[in-house]
Subunit: 178 residues, 4 copies
DNA sequence: CATGAATGAGCTTTCATTCAT
DNA sequence: CATGAATGAAAGCTCATTCAT
């Protein structure tokens, strides 16, 4: 019944499925069954709504990608990270799609620039912390490679290959990194 | 003097820099210094223009990603492919950006669906042919992993990390695969 | 102050005077002193606006053509019908013109197909009911002939003959049918 | 092979079926398989093409409506006129439709004003000549009434009633006027 | 006689946003 | 908090017409 949350939920879904520019405020209103005035009462602009949503998803992403700090070995932490990443891929499909969309579309990227930078730095940092324990000399390159593989797979899974062998790819990575 | 090519060139650039939906036909016309009517004389619609451009870039991508068939060993072929991929990344920045944009934006993806599918299948195939010689059993997974790494790096290089260590990543991959 | 009615009134007038296709939405807006956006806020499309107008005029036409049911003889009913038809012709000039235009222009006819059919059936029916009492055997042909004469005169009066002798034609018909 | 005639023929057909404003020069060119330049080589403008066509159809209409001057009695002349009118209705459907369209659409009417006036005067004149012999006192009203009936029936037959009883109406008129 | 590239004005429609209620 | 009428700019696209070849 909280209409503000209703708007956010519907907008997230629609932005993920149709892209930001291809989703009009009118469509959001119809889908969420609220008036146009209300959207602009709660959010200064359509772009502000997007930023609110992106911020929220950053928190979710952080949770999903967080390595369990209680794990003793870095390998176990990587394993944990991979497990939750692949679990998230399947479970929060539209959330991942939303993020890829927003970060790659030049228009939305410019709106979200600062938020994207912060999130990307955080993710790199949390991976790097693990690789520093494994191979301090190559930690940065290894970290970049690791997340490149993950993001590349997400990209292929969501947008390119219809029958992507997600389970096999996960096992492949698990073998490789642990 | 060939205004049709002029339109295609300008549109490619603008679509890459600003995205498809954020690039109006008017902007293309102003930039290319042609009339609006001419665009629709040569292309049935803005979407048809996009498809023409995407088809052309597919040919370019094929050339860039083509492994030298004269290379004796599969490792040499992979090396060759990596070299031309990273050379292309730097040289044809806007072309790569264009492709990532179009494939990830839901709206453009739906317009280009069939062309994307064909291209993706071709690229997978050309990589797979090499891995079949190296490790027939895991060829498919290895191929998917390989292109995931490449695409993931492209994605990070273009859209996420400002100071991406492209040269180091290239060396990292060369060591790993050859 | 009711801008929606303002739009409908202006559009009816302009459609009648200039035809549907020769009346741009911009012209309607300028004349009605409303913004372009408002027209499409109230009507899904220009065609939808036309349908709304046509439906409304059907009601008016029904009123005008309605025979007084209190008249005892069918001849009196015909007389009544003729009187109100010719009164309407002179008084509601643009309304009749509008109707002829819309029904004869292939483009508008296709848009209004169903509405035209319903209205035509209704008018035929209400005339036929009278002729059934006069000459049941030839009622249908007489009815068709009757409305052919009326519509033919309207057509000539509005669109063809500059100095149409409307009064004389009315007397001619009154003599003939009563 | 005479491309000018080809253009005229195609344009007549299309104007009749779709209306003048709803038929673009491009469509005429595609259908007639000629270039746009050629249309404007032969006709100064689209409106000029319309006038040429309308002039030509006037001649055809005159032929169809012409009473055989060899007929001895005015009744026989009326009969002859009715016969050829109804024959024409069925045989030259698109020609009649074209004429009704052009005369009723405000935009085309203004283009063809002078031609319409001349034709209408001619038709009235040729009918009147007959009625002058039958009933000189009421000749004008009878003439207007006669052509009103004919045009009204044409209008209903082409544009309003799907199952118009054309044959019965013809017999009705024949009985009435002969 | 014939082509088709090129133009520019104008078309219908969409959209983010404002504001009185 | 909530509505929806109202705006005005900009979008994609059509079209009659011109002109170099």
């Amino acid at each position: 019944m909280d209409k503000k949350e209703q708007i956010i939920g519907v907008a997230t879904q629609l932005f993920a499925e149709r892209g930001f520019q291809n989703t009009s405020v009118s469509l959001i209103c119809e889908t969420a069954e609220v008036s146009k005035g209300l959207v602009f009462h709660h959010f200064k602009s359509k772009q502000e709504l997007l930023r609110e949503i992106f911020s929220r998803t950053t928190e979710l992403i952080k949770d999903i990608n967080a390595a369990d700090p209680s794990c003793s070995t870095p390998q176990a932490q990587l394993k944990d990270m991979l497990e939750s990443f692949f679990a998230g891929l399947a479970a929060n499909k539209s959330l991942f799609q939303f993020n890829l969309n927003m970060m790659l579309q030049p228009f939305t990227r410019s709106i979200l620039q600062d938020l994207i930078d912060k999130r990307a730095a955080f993710l790199l940092q949390s991976v790097r912390r693990i690789f520093e324990e494994i191979d301090p000399e190559n930690a940065l390159v290894l970290s970049y490679g690791f997340i490149a593989e993950l993001d590349g797979m997400a990209l292929h899974y969501f947008s390119i290959y219809e029958d992507y062998p997600l389970a096999e790819m996960k096992n492949h990575l698990l073998k490789k990194y642990t």
